[in-house]
Symmetry: C2
Subunit: 370 residues, 2 copies
């Protein structure tokens, strides 16, 4: 028998693409003793989580709850509930996460149509309009905050185009929720998913989702069962709402505690103040990085405030520099993903982690080692 | 804006079908500050978790890791990785969880064959043998510890029959792992899943799984992609092993911390001592319950030590009594599920929760209120 030693990871400043540092109150909440997943007190906590999620998503959608798995399972939940084999879907792809949606659509046996933009660019409404002239999809899906590139995608016009074409409008807000404005109802979003480990400052483990009434109707009109039992909202709804809560799977109690506290902190600060804080610290970081000679990948106006993608100068020792930051300063920054590997850094300032001290620590460390 | 108050659930003694009370050291471990999911220190923690899981599953299987979702997602992970549309599967059903497997098999587009036993009974090898004479399944699946009925299912003979028929042998050990013997290699189990919130005494949120080399070959030989992107082991393996860890999804860091500490505690106690403790406390509970006039549902020899299903006497106020236990004593016991609703209680003594004080608290409370 081999028995590893006590858990003792080095405390880090997490300035990568997520997880970000969880808020200390969230960490404490997670250590609350467990109660049962059908305990009346737990049902009360679930109700509060739903209501707070509605406020953060800015929606009245009744079907709003956290999926019991990480953000990518939220993506799968939205797509597997809304698409049946043979359905058509139009997926907008300008980075890793658009590609992931396209992959899932094909696994579901649905017919995939794509609109592509180069990595680091956004999708133009004109592209979606053109594509919608050539197919009749049940859903149009897009990423609001492309974590692989740092692009903030404008949504309203594309949402209108989707609706005009009779399609549902599905949006990935994993990195944006709680850090920049997400208006589910105003923007006509029919299904949305997010994650807890970015701007909500809770540990990874849950994927908040919300479905509009139109989306719920589409699920009700399915001819086949949802392919995933675990993610099937037609059953989950009986646990997350109604008089008599029916057991589906055992809810991840501690993760829901953590989300409860994380959402309280978001609402205490206020959404607008929180977005301003993210923007202000993004600008502080930008000034520091540009001063050091780094260039932003994404043009102004389309940059995410919580995920800063900068180009690495010619000959820059990507892995070595990240290792130095981690080993000497305990600062984690994110490497480039996919076609940006070795070419880009992704620097996150998310939720609780978006603060001046983090910016100063990183800029000072970079100044010392460059 | 409505803002719920501070999280403050009443501490409970959890004697239901799970979650059980997490060990205080596990709760503390979960509050460890987050590090990144690709941090070299986290990779070290993952390696230790894998190695401890191998010891607890009693297996040498290289593909052994926790799925990033609760136990039922482990069930879905095993089935979705091993079955393709058109494949045949023989599912043994004697309770809720066998039924759930059958449901998932159909959602995957595989052909379902069933062997049924009445709830509260086990599956006889003879039944499996007969069924295997009439079909040629790719997999035979069965539940080791049926949480809905309290039945402990003998596995070895059925495993041999499955192998003789050229089928993979898949087993649900959600409730048994860490509380009674599970011998993955000795019993020829090709794929197994469990949960963290039962006898491992961690919060719900992860599903430990293990695949034999034969199972891995079967996955490699697939003609189609695994239907679930999130649960696709052909990609997960690149995150959980190998030199260069490839990002798949963001691992639930805190949950993995909790599993790390939970597994350490299991191995410190030693598997055999742990199983003896579960058996001893089961016998103590049994004596107390029989003294109060309760009858066990399952005949001796097939009873789970960690999940005690007892029949409710005629006219017994099921819901009222459970409410009294919860409100007055903060003790949770489990209601009957499915066809046992209103007829059975399920009393869990799992992991850390399997101790004399819990037994005494419950028996004394029952004595007072009956």
């Amino acid at each position: 028998m081999t028995l590893p030693g006590q858990l003792n990871p080095t405390p880090r400043i997490l300035l990568g693409p997520g997880p970000s540092n969880a808020h200390p109150r969230v960490i404490r909440a997670m250590a609350t003793p467990l109660i049962g997943h059908l305990d009346p007190e737990f049902i009360g906590i679930m109700e509060d989580v739903k209501s707070m999620l509605q406020q953060v998503f800015r929606t009245k959608n009744a079907l709003t709850f956290p999926v019991s798995a990480t953000g990518s399972a939220g993506m799968e939940a939205i797509l597997t509930n809304l698409l049946e084999p043979g359905d058509e879907a139009l997926i907008c792809v300008n980075g890793v996460f658009g590609n992931r949606m396209a992959d899932i659509v094909e696994r579901l046996g649905a017919k995939l149509h794509r609109v592509d933009a180069p990595w680091g660019k956004w999708i133009e409404p004109e592209q979606v309009k053109e594509a919608l002239g050539k197919c009749k999809p049940k859903a149009v899906a897009i990423v609001h905050a492309e974590t692989s590139t740092g692009v903030l995608q404008p949504l309203e016009e594309i949402g209108k185009l989707a609706h005009d074409a009779g399609a549902l409008f599905l949006v990935d807000t994993v990195t944006s929720l709680g850090g920049t404005d997400v208006r589910v109802d105003d923007w006509g979003i029919d299904a949305v998913y997010s994650g807890t480990q970015k701007c909500l400052s809770a540990p990874p483990g849950l994927a908040p989702v919300s479905f509009s009434d139109r989306a719920v109707e589409a699920i009700r009109a399915r001819k086949t069962k949802v392919q995933s039992w675990y993610l099937d909202t037609t059953m989950l709804i009986n646990y997350w709402s109604g008089e008599k809560r029916a057991y589906h799977h055992t809810a991840p109690i501690s993760s829901i505690y953590s989300l409860y506290e994380a959402l309280r902190i978001v609402l205490e600060e206020g959404l607008e103040s929180r977005f301003e804080r993210h923007q202000k610290n993004h600008e502080l970081l930008k000034a520091g990085l540009e001063d050091l000679g780094f260039e932003f990948l994404v043009p102004e106006g389309y940059r995410l405030p919580m995920l800063n993608a900068v180009k690495l100068p010619q000959g820059f020792d990507d892995a070595g520099m990240r290792k130095t930051l981690l080993d000497r300063y305990n600062i984690e920054v994110g490497a480039g993903l996919g076609e940006f590997a070795g070419k880009v850094w992704r620097i996150g300032l998310m939720g609780y982690g978006s603060n001046e001290n983090h910016v100063n620590a990183l800029i000072s460390a970079l100044r010392q080692v460059l």
